[in-house]
Symmetry: C2
Subunit: 146 residues, 2 copies
């Protein structure tokens, strides 16, 4: 039996904020609250295979967060395509790990959120390594397409 | 002044088929027909930065296709999330380059299509290198989520 999700995210932006706050706090339960459990969710970590389903996705994030490293995630270059039931967010994650003097190489991300009965939830997180500084020259300013 | 697109894609699947056929034919014009020109399109090649806008996207594909190499792209593990105006396709590309005996390492892809006045067009192509064989063990059979 699935646990009932307690948090409702009225907008995709609320879900996205909760997602990155959960990473920064190292809170796996809060992180998994953001993901849909009605759909076959998909997650690709930088350079990694495609993971599907709550079990694989939870396990991968648990591995990342259990290191106890503290992450600061600076988001840049957000582009949003907003539909009625789906919302696509493209952005750069610039990740600083506590104790490291320089940010990690930027990560290019496509996040997809879906509207359900309990608000917006993440259904896709596709992250990939990028050879280029994130959110700077190649990027337009943050923009909502329509 | 923008050229009027001549081809109409009645479904996201039609647009996706045309996209990969254009790559296999090395046809940059057919490839760019699939992309929207009404929106700020986004394209991420494996390990590369995020490109935005028709000019950057065209230039990157022209570079890839002008090599004259012939590509065969075998798609696997398709998962589709279909909305009214947006369609998200997750899949693996297994690319065989003519003259090479083995397929290139699989590429994990998120393609996003948007419905416009002239049918469905691509607005996002996010490809990333994967360490795992595409479309085999980790993948469920092709499935449409809803």
């Amino acid at each position: 039996m699935r646990a009932v999700k307690k948090t409702s995210f009225p907008t995709p932006e609320d879900a996205e904020a909760a997602f990155y706050e959960a990473i920064e706090r190292g809170d796996i339960e809060a992180l998994m609250e953001v993901w849909s459990d009605d759909e076959e969710i998909l997650c690709v970590h930088p350079g990694g295979p495609r993971l599907s389903g709550v079990e694989q996705v939870r396990e991968s994030w648990a591995q990342i967060l259990k290191s106890g490293q503290q992450f600061k995630v600076h988001l840049a270059g957000q582009v949003v395509v907003q539909g009625m039931m789906l919302s696509i967010h493209s952005l750069h994650e610039n990740i600083l790990v506590q104790g490291e003097s320089r940010p990690r190489p930027p990560v290019v991300v496509t996040n997809v959120y879906q509207r359900g009965t309990a608000g917006w939830r993440m259904i896709v997180h596709h992250a990939s390594p990028s050879s280029q500084p994130g959110g700077t020259r190649a990027d337009p300013p943050p923009k909502t397409l329509h």
